[in-house]
């Protein structure tokens, strides 16, 4: 019971935080509308979604072969590839790369995979200063907060909170003007970029055919992160592979449209190997860290299609539950509908409640650019963990099933329900036992009328013509 209760308490607290809820409403609706408009303007949008889904599924179905090809190509171009079985291994690899080379100042471009393994904390502990260069992540970092959305990390903050954090942490004059705040952050980050010696990025798509790493950003910080420092470390989940360079346009067309409604991200960066002798910039060393951290298990499990996800965040924006709580309430790096699948699959039973934090309205599945049937998978995950549900719930559902298999008991149940619900004098319930109490927290409940439909039928409706 406690896990459900903890989750309920957490969600209730999030719902009550009107400031966050208002900010999340505003941002998600804006993105939902922008996405819908941009898809309406995109010719053959449905065919592209289908194609994207097929490519991702095909890749997953042949992942070992494509990974081998990817690794071979990265190495052929002078990059180094490291395999990390779990978060600890990945952190160790990156920290050792830094410490062995005496690197002390790392710039990072936005990456959920590094959030997943808590890389910043590990690097700081190893004596490497890490600076986030995506504006949203930068604000999260200076405000000692956590991202609450996989694309828009500060979706939960309003302008005032950003202004306060910047003034407090950077010592700049207080301003709520977004352009001015951006200018201040940019000036601050330029100095860091000048001095940094390690660049850390995630990867949106790793191309098996060429070993190319594709990064999509809106601020150009990804490009600075891979060109300025001496060493570039790219971390990606093993599922982030696509077969060919020719597949990339399909995803570039879908990714930003799904995220924000933009036709494309402002900056699309393709990295193929470290700096070559005739290159004007780029890192001397390129290290690619392939992270498993539970992904092989998902691939071998009952719903491998979850790994098609390209982390666009469209399902978060579309979700009416996410919209009313924001990302922190999910207590996982990956919130929202896709997070409610990924978190329990990646991290296990502590996230069992998440697949149940959904009305199964299906808005997520409709916008997924790789056509993951999220609501169906949420139901499947509920089924797989039903034995870990509270005993009371299991017994009640079993009892309910027993009643529904016996029409006369069902009928008695209708009468009992009516009897249990005391009338408030106007045909509505004044109170009730068990789950009815929870119902009555938020809404009224009509008393069932004295005559059910079947009684109407028996008392004459059935004999009329």
């Amino acid at each position: 019971m406690s896990r459900t209760n903890d989750t309920r308490r957490r969600l209730a607290a999030a719902v009550a935080d009107r400031r966050v809820v208002a900010a999340v409403h505003l941002a998600t609706w804006r993105k939902v509308d922008a996405r819908a408009e941009s898809f309406a303007r995109l010719p053959h949008a449905e065919e592209l979604r289908e194609r994207a889904a097929q490519i991702r599924q095909h890749t997953l179905d042949h992942l070992p072969a494509y990974l081998e090809q990817f690794v071979g190509q990265v190495e052929r171009r002078g990059g180094h590839v490291h395999f990390a079985a779990d978060a600890a291994a990945a952190c160790r690899i990156v920290c050792e790369l830094a410490t062995q080379r005496g690197l002390t100042l790392a710039v990072k471009s936005k990456s959920m995979t590094t959030e997943e393994i808590h890389l910043n904390a590990a690097l700081e502990a190893a004596g490497v200063r890490v600076v986030e260069t995506d504006l949203g992540e930068f604000i999260v970092q200076i405000d000692r907060d956590r991202p609450s959305h996989i694309i828009t990390p500060i979706i939960h903050k309003d302008r005032r909170q950003v202004a306060e954090a910047m003034a407090r942490e950077l010592g700049c004059p207080y301003t709520e003007d977004p352009a001015e705040l951006t200018r201040i952050a940019r000036a601050h980050l330029r100095d860091i970029f000048r001095r940094c010696d390690l660049g850390i990025t995630g990867v949106n798509f790793g191309v098996a055919e060429t070993g190319t790493l594709c990064l999509v950003t809106n601020e150009g910080n990804g490009r600075m992160t891979v060109s300025r420092p001496r060493v570039h470390v790219a971390l990606l989940g093993i599922e982030k592979i696509i077969p060919r360079l020719a597949d990339l346009p399909v995803f570039l067309k879908m990714l930003a449209r799904s995220s924000t409604g933009q036709p494309m991200g402002s900056y699309t960066t393709l990295v193929t190997g470290p700096r070559r002798p005739d290159d004007r910039d780029g890192p001397a060393e390129l290290h690619v860290v392939l992270l498993d951290n539970g992904r092989s298990d998902i691939l071998a499990g009952p719903m491998p299609e979850v790994l098609r996800c390209v982390r666009c965040g469209a399902c978060l924006n579309a979700c009416p539950a996410y919209r009313n709580v924001g990302g922190h309430a999910y207590h996982s790096v990956y919130p929202g509908p896709i997070g409610s699948l990924l978190s329990p699959l990646l991290y296990g039973a502590e996230h069992d409640a998440l697949p149940r934090v959904s009305s199964l309205c299906g808005a997520c599945g409709l916008v997924c650019p790789v056509k993951i049937d999220i609501p169906a998978l949420l139901v499947r995950l509920r089924a797989l963990t039903r034995d870990r549900q509270p005993a009371l719930k299991r017994w009640m559902l079993r009892g309910w099933g027993w009643v529904m298999r016996r029409p006369w008991v069902y009928r008695l149940g209708q009468k009992t329900l009516r009897a249990l619900l005391r009338d408030d004098g106007r045909g509505w319930a004044r109170g009730g036992p068990g789950p009815l109490r929870e119902w009555l927290c938020e809404r009224d409940l009509p008393r069932p009328p004295a005559r059910s439909f079947r009684r109407l039928w028996e008392e004459g409706l059935g004999n009329e013509r």
Partner: protein, 244 residues
């Protein structure tokens, strides 16, 4: 045409008037309506909660209750989807699954049955004497579209289409009682959306959504009234007295 009514447990218990309206409208268009008395629930609450053996037992039962009906009509698109799509998939025994598929193929949602089998132009028959808006139930997606529902309300200028007609009401089965605060917040968004249309009458063809929205409106003191399309039709055709 002989029609077996699958009234659904929620309509039977909470909204008998909707069942009565369905019967009267079907009869009006020449159907002989039967009510197999052993029917109870399609198992949807158990299915959605992941309690699939419990849901399978109820689907097996429902197939047995309706196996000899040539046409099965239900006022709920979500229950129709439960029987048509999820039912057969739940049964592991191939003979039972085949039987379930046969019955599933004969299950029709009320409005689509009128349109597709009886060729009724619903939109031409409904009458509204006050502004009306509507709620599109999420689980109607495999049965009818937002545009279908909008069309069934006719060309009257009384119809006010919400900006987001398919916004979820936040019910979600056991979700409503497991996470009531979140379900209630989603409900609040939905009610705001309906109130913004200015209409006070809401057509909603899903008993579960109505239970959630009508209960929420009353708790918040909002003057919203909810009706199933069958009730609107029965009243428009003079088959039932309009409710005040």
């Amino acid at each position: 045409m002989d029609v077996a009514l699958f009234v659904t447990c929620l309509t039977d218990t909470f909204y008998p008037r909707v069942g009565e309206a369905v019967v009267r409208v079907l009869r009006h268009f020449g159907c002989r309506v039967h009510f197999p008395k052993r029917q109870t629930c399609c198992g949807q609450p158990a299915y959605n909660s992941g309690f699939h053996p419990e849901a399978a037992a109820l689907i097996r039962r429902l197939v047995d209750v309706f196996h000899d009906a040539e046409c099965i009509v239900t006022p709920s698109a979500s229950c129709a989807t439960m029987v048509r799509r999820h039912g057969p998939a739940l049964l592991t025994d191939e003979a039972a699954a085949e039987m379930a598929r046969q019955v599933a193929g004969r299950v029709h949602e009320f409005a689509t049955f009128l349109r597709d089998r009886l060729h009724v132009d619903i939109g031409a028959l409904v009458r509204f004497d006050k502004p009306v808006t509507f709620h599109y139930p999420c689980h109607a997606r495999e049965v009818y579209t937002v545009d279908d529902l909008r069309r069934w309300l006719g060309n009257s200028e009384m119809v006010r289409t919400p900006a987001r007609p398919d916004l979820c009401c936040g019910f979600g089965g056991l979700f409503a009682v497991e996470y009531p605060e979140l379900s209630g917040a989603m409900l609040g968004d939905k009610l705001d959306e309906l109130m913004r249309t200015g209409a006070r009458l809401v057509v909603c063809n899903e008993a579960a959504c109505t239970l959630q929205m009508a209960g929420g409106a009353r708790r918040r003191g909002l003057p919203l009234q909810f009706k199933h399309l069958a009730e609107v039709l029965a009243e428009s055709l003079g088959l039932m007295e309009p409710t005040p």
